[in-house]
């Protein structure tokens, strides 16, 4: 479905991605691991057209490099940015509302699904999102993107700052998404959940993919873990 | 070693500044030049004091003229008391009266305004400004109504032959004040309060968590700025010998903002450039062309969009390039830019001038002189020429600019890299 070939990305003059190649198939969960600064978030941004980049990004067969973010989004790609980009001055409900495309008709998801998923949000649906706790904000960003009914969703460190219990919850829900035929590109720090739920894992280092395989293969390959994940 | 060289540099700069102030009137000695120089001193102090709020404190004030202006009024009244003999005081100290007044009113109004920051602060200052201005026409006893208050600076006994009658004597008085005030305000930026003021600008919330009361920091800075503003007002009173309501008006406040920004609010010396520009614009440019406000507005727009750091930042960038010894290779590009640019501007300006002429001074006939060349506002030739110049100029300029941008970018990249290596090494 998503097919990235030889992607290069730049922040101003600093060259951050050096030819990234990766695919995500339909209904697949792919984990993208790597250290801080290895370029995972940048990859996500590049796909969404939020950083200047060269190379090829094909989505459902059509080239989307250089498209504006809102165009990409309308093609059915969802993106959950890292560090909790909620809209602080809007209420929780309004935040979700902005997630909808148009009037939100024919979407697989409605407000109720979201509130069912995270009751905490329902409790606070009329408070300003800015005052939500770190974790609540994290949940909100995820839901907001789902409201747009994407076919593939790129999630950047969703479990950051979440209590272990919630982390498990999120893991469950990602699998539920998969069950509904939604593909997931999961950018993670915590090996544990990545290993437990993903079909394939990619490891990124210095702006390119340095390992690709199943969780098992990664487990079996201490060298890679040692070099690219731990210190 | 390093310390000594930097101390040497400092003395050199300040010495140079002093020297400049002293010899300036000898270089330009015409009556007009003297007027201009005197006003520059005044404007420099005003803009620097404004930048204490704007640049260093992040307080966008739309009412700074209140403090310069009220300073002026207090000073002129003091001057008149001296003339009547009701007050014993050398004229040379009158500006301090202005300063104290500015400080006093800053204490008063600042208490209200500095309780808020950001947009609210801007709005209150705007309101206070308008308020004082409206009051001016309401209390003729103090503000002198439409006519304003005039005074005579040849008051009291002359001190060793200094009567302050001739403009040159006034200039040197202003020069002295300018030097002292600039030095004092520079010193301020290197004091605890000065530094915390920057901190408050950048992140007020955190300041509260390192033990400082942001309101107090803003308030004290505001008061100090008020003092210097008042001094500049006092000098203005002596210089013009008349003070009318417009000195507290919004237009004046706007001018401070505008030129402080143009000069460059992010560097200490920016506002000095701003002050100089302000006078050049108000006195010379306005003499030169009726369209001066238009040019001013356009320049300002252009700067905000393309060089938000003001002229000062442009200078610093080039200095940096120079420091890495790469300015020379840009020289000819600059020349080209200048040549093509001025061709374009000349053409455009000529067009504007002719339109203005047609619009505003038809009674004076079709001829108008513009930078030495004579244009016929209804003459085909003039228009064709002007438009052609504009078009050609623009084309060439754009071409040159592209090259310049590329080259500039390359240089910056190179410098960045070298810096990287340094910090790595």
């Amino acid at each position: 479905m998503l097919n990235i070939r030889n992607l290069h990305a730049y922040y101003g003059k600093s060259h951050v991605l050096h030819g990234v190649n990766l695919e995500v198939g339909a209904g697949e969960i792919v984990a993208l691991l790597g250290r801080n600064g290895s370029g995972r978030s940048t990859t996500a941004k590049a796909v969404m057209g939020l950083v200047e980049c060269e190379g090829s990004v094909e989505w459902k067969g059509q080239q989307i490099v250089g498209r504006k973010a809102y165009e990409v989004a309308h093609l059915g790609l969802g993106y959950v940015p890292e560090n909790r980009d909620i809209f602080p001055t809007l209420t929780v409900h309004q935040n979700l509302m902005l997630g909808q495309k148009g009037k939100g008709k024919g979407s697989r998801w409605g407000f109720d699904d979201m509130y069912a998923m995270f009751p905490r949000l329902k409790e606070r649906q009329h408070t300003e999102a800015g005052v939500l706790s770190g974790g609540e904000q994290q949940m909100l960003t995820l839901c907001r993107t789902l409201m747009g009914d994407p076919d593939l969703i790129i999630i950047d460190e969703p479990t950051e700052g979440l209590a272990p219990k919630i982390v498990e919850l999120v893991a469950e829900y990602l699998q539920k998404l998969k069950a509904r035929g939604i593909s997931v590109l999961l950018i993670e720090q915590k090996l544990t959940i990545a290993m437990s739920i993903s079909d394939r894992v990619l490891v990124m280092g210095h702006g390119s993919i340095v390992f690709e395989g199943t969780p098992e293969q990664l487990k079996a390959d201490p060298a890679v873990r040692k070099e690219w994940l731990e210190v | 070693m390093k310390a000594r060289s930097s101390r040497f540099a400092r003395t050199a700069i300040w010495g140079g500044f002093a020297l400049l102030l002293v010899i300036a009137p000898m270089l330009f000695s015409s009556g007009l030049a003297l007027t201009v120089l005197s006003q520059m001193g005044i404007a420099i102090i005003a803009c620097l004091s404004y930048n204490m709020l704007f640049g260093q404190g992040g307080m966008l004030s739309f009412g700074h003229a209140v403090y310069t202006g009220l300073g002026s009024f207090m000073a002129i009244h003091a001057l008149n008391r001296v003339t009547e003999g009701a007050l014993q005081m050398p004229v040379s100290l009158i500006p301090l009266v202005g300063g104290v007044a500015g400080l006093g009113f800053a204490v008063l109004f600042g208490y209200v305004t500095t309780r808020k920051a950001g947009t609210t602060f801007a709005m209150i200052t705007l309101g206070l400004g308008e308020l004082v201005f409206a009051l001016a026409l309401m209390i003729p006893e103090f503000f002198g109504g439409e006519g304003g208050v005039s005074g005579n600076r040849m008051a009291g006994q002359p001190f060793m032959g200094i009567t302050f009658g001739p403009q040159i004597q006034v200039y040197y008085l202003i020069a002295v004040y300018t030097f002292v005030c600039v030095a004092a305000m520079y010193a301020f930026t290197h004091t605890p309060l000065g530094r915390m003021l920057n901190a408050v600008r950048d992140n007020p919330e955190r300041v509260e968590f390192v033990g400082y009361d942001t309101q107090k920091v803003r308030y004290f800075a505001f008061i100090i700025a008020g003092f210097f503003a008042g001094i500049s007002g006092g000098l203005a009173a002596l210089n013009f010998e008349i003070v009318t309501a417009e000195v507290v008006g919004a237009a004046r406040s706007g001018a401070y903002l505008l030129f402080t920004f143009l000069g460059g609010a992010t560097f200490f010396f920016g506002p000095i450039i701003g002050g100089v520009l302000m006078v050049l614009a108000f006195v010379l440019l306005s003499e030169l062309t009726k369209a001066w406000l238009l040019y001013l507005g356009l320049i300002f727009l252009f700067m905000v969009i393309y060089a938000p750091g003001g002229i000062a930042s442009l200078i610093m960038m080039n200095l940096r390039v120079a420091a890495f010894g790469r300015l020379r290779e840009l020289l000819w590009r600059y020349l080209a830019l200048f040549a093509t640019g001025s061709l374009m501007l000349l053409g455009a300006a000529a067009v504007i001038e002719m339109v203005y002429h047609l619009q505003l001074s038809t009674t004076l006939g079709d001829e108008l002189r513009f930078l030495g060349l004579t244009l016929h506002a209804r003459g085909m030739a003039s228009w064709a020429g002007a438009l052609a110049a504009t078009a050609v100029g623009f084309g060439l300029f754009e071409f040159v600019r592209r090259g310049f941008v590329r080259h500039w970018g390359a240089i910056q990249e190179d410098i960045e890299n070298r810096l990287q290596q340094r910090s790595a090494a």
Binding site: K45, L50, K68, A69, Y70, V72, A73, H74, Y79, P81, D85, I86, F87, P88, T89, L90, Q94, M97, L98, G99, K101, R144, T145, G148 | V112, R115, K116, T119, T120, A122, M123, I124, L126, G127, L128, E130, L131, L135, M138, I139, E141, A250, G254, L257, L258, F261, A291, L293, L294, L296, G297, F300, L301, V304, I305, P308, I352, V355, Q359, L360
Partner: protein, 344 residues
């Protein structure tokens, strides 16, 4: 009595004109967080463009065309200038509009000259809407349009008759303002635009990746706001005076309105506009001063005090400062304004 009615109407109509202006300003501020210093300049542009267009196609078409033109200019400005500095934050944005206000005044003088132009309302609006006739015997009555001369003059000197016509221009002004209020209110409540922009202020990237074309919305809003100012300009200009200083004269007052009403609160702006309009109109009418007050209270006053010019100041004399006094007081005691939600 008729004095009160007429003054009240004058006050309201002036207030509503202020509202026409502040509504656009509020729209832009509440949505984009930009304090548009050039707003009053767009008002002036509206007047002048309206004037010129009216020369060719008459007043009514001008009433539509001028706002559109101004709106387009506003949008263009947003696209070419405002958008470029958006990333630097609010102060540069504010400064850009500040600079623009200078440029517009000059361009106006360049195109239309430095002295007022004769922008007359259409025939239908020249007369009065209605006339109040106050007859010292038959009492007060109202006739639509202008009252025939015989009604306004009495046979014998004993009876006193006063005719007070209310100009149609002002009536029209009130009408348009109300319509405008409704439409803006609808725009804000019936659409999601407001939310999108608010969100985009802090997290443009996030909003875009949710599929909203942020730049376009910004441009539309700014254009719409300017258009409103333009409309106000056509009406204000033809009712009062079309001259290069007209921007400066309303400029600071509408800021007062917006702040007093509560930054970004439309209803607040509405209330504040009327309040200030009425206050200013009536203030002119009242000769009360501290002095009169003290005398009413029957205080013994020394002659020195009587001649003290401060307490002799009458309300009508201090009228000009009232709005600003109001502003400062509000900001001190209720910084979020009359109906504002958050602090500006």
């Amino acid at each position: 009595m008729e004095f009160f009615i007429i003054s009240m109407l004058n006050g309201l109509s002036y207030g509503l004109l202020l509202f026409m202006l502040s509504s656009g300003l509020t729209l832009i501020f509440s949505m984009m967080g930009v304090l548009n210093f050039a707003h009053a300049s767009f008002y002036m542009l509206g007047a002048y463009v309206g004037y010129s267009v009216a020369q060719f196609v008459g007043f009514w078409p001008a009433l539509l065309i001028a706002p559109v033109v101004v709106g387009l200019l506003g949008a263009a400005f947003e696209r070419q200038c405002l958008r470029k500095v958006h990333k630097f934050g609010h102060v540069p944005e504010l400064l850009v509009t500040f600079g623009l206000s200078y440029v517009i005044v000059e361009i106006v003088q360049l195109v239309w000259g430095r002295i007022a132009v004769e922008f007359r309302p259409p025939e239908v609006l020249r007369g009065p809407v209605f006339t109040l006739i106050n007859h010292s015997i038959d009492g007060m009555r109202l006739v639509w349009g202008s009252a025939p001369a015989e009604l306004c003059s009495a046979a014998d000197a004993a009876v006193r008759v006063v005719c007070s016509p209310f100009p149609a221009t002002r009536g029209f002004m009130m009408l348009v303002a109300v319509v405008m209020l409704l439409s803006v209110w609808l725009l804000l409540t019936r659409t999601r635009i407001g939310l999108v922009i608010q969100a985009a202020l802090t997290h443009p990237e996030a909003v875009e990746s949710l599929g909203h074309n942020v730049p376009r919305v910004f441009m539309l809003v700014f254009g719409a706001g300017s258009a409103l100012a333009g409309l106000a300009g056509v009406i204000g200009g033809s009712t009062f005076l079309t001259e290069p200083a007209m921007a400066a004269t309303v400029g600071s007052v509408i800021f007062v309105v917006v702040v007093v009403g509560g930054m970004g609160s439309l209803s607040g702006a509405f209330v504040a506009s009327l309040l200030i309009g009425v206050i200013q109109t009536f203030a002119v009418a009242f000769e009360y001063s501290l002095l009169t007050l003290l005398e009413q209270l029957g205080m013994p006053l020394s002659d020195a005090l009587r001649n003290n010019s401060y307490i002799k100041l009458t309300l009508s004399q201090v009228a000009p400062i009232l709005p600003y006094l109001f502003l400062v007081l509000i900001l001190i005691f209720r910084p979020r304004g009359l109906l504002g939600k958050r602090e500006g």
